[in-house]
Amino acid sequence: MTLTRKGQEFTTGSARFHDSASNHLEPGSKVFVRFRIAHLEHEFLGLLDTGATWSIVDWEIAVLAGLRPESGHRIRYSGRWGTIEGSVVTCSFLLPASEGEPLEIQGSVFVSTDWRAGNFIGYRGLLERIRFALDPQENRFYFGPCA
């Protein structure tokens, strides 16, 4: 099922999200969505975090995905977890669908050799060009490309 707005397609795919990954850096009920990154064939979970400037990818995933910090400018990234050093690098990113179409994006994420605290799906570089909506009753994450 996809969503429409004023008769126009608003989203093109959807997938259930996980909301009880108490094993994450920030325990409690959160919205964890599925993603694939670069050439890696398997899926991972990332915390949907519109309050995060950048997405952050766990360092072990970044290494195997071939995301090299030296391919971006070194910066300090501050958030509610503190300040970490790393780089913003470009990569391909996929939101798998359980209904409708998956969404593939060429975007940017933050990687740091110090980061082993899970994956965050942030605003700049990824979400800023995605239409999305949540249905907490069915734990469903709807997504689609911006027109």
């Binding site: 259930r16 850096l25 599925r34 398997h42 899926e43 766990d58 072990e60 400018h73 913003v88 798998p96």
Partner: protein, 131 residues
Amino acid sequence: MPRALAILPDESSTQANSYSTLIRDHVEKGQVLAARRLLELALDQGLASPDLELWRRTLAPPRVLQGKNSATPTDRSREFQWLENESHAYRGQWVAVEGGRLLAAADSLKAVLAKLARMVPKPQALVHRID
């Protein structure tokens, strides 16, 4: 050679470096839109440097790649159920789950993916670290 022409490349390089520093300051403050505007301004002035080129690539807004992926829709309800009910026994490990069944667990993601790579047929797992 006129003196101004001899100095110009240095000035250009200095300006590009100044812009790059300013862009970094904005990025580190989370002001990405302002950083993009600065970058645009620098490029509009004809400034060029490896640093600015790197900013151009990494600060570019994301692009949706239309029609590039033909992945079959997959539901992960059973994998989520497994994470909820069974994952506590695997704290500190990476796990790979498919269809509600644990396929692999190891201390490193590399080891888990190596185990998955040896499996036939090739699984399409959900991989997660249980902390």
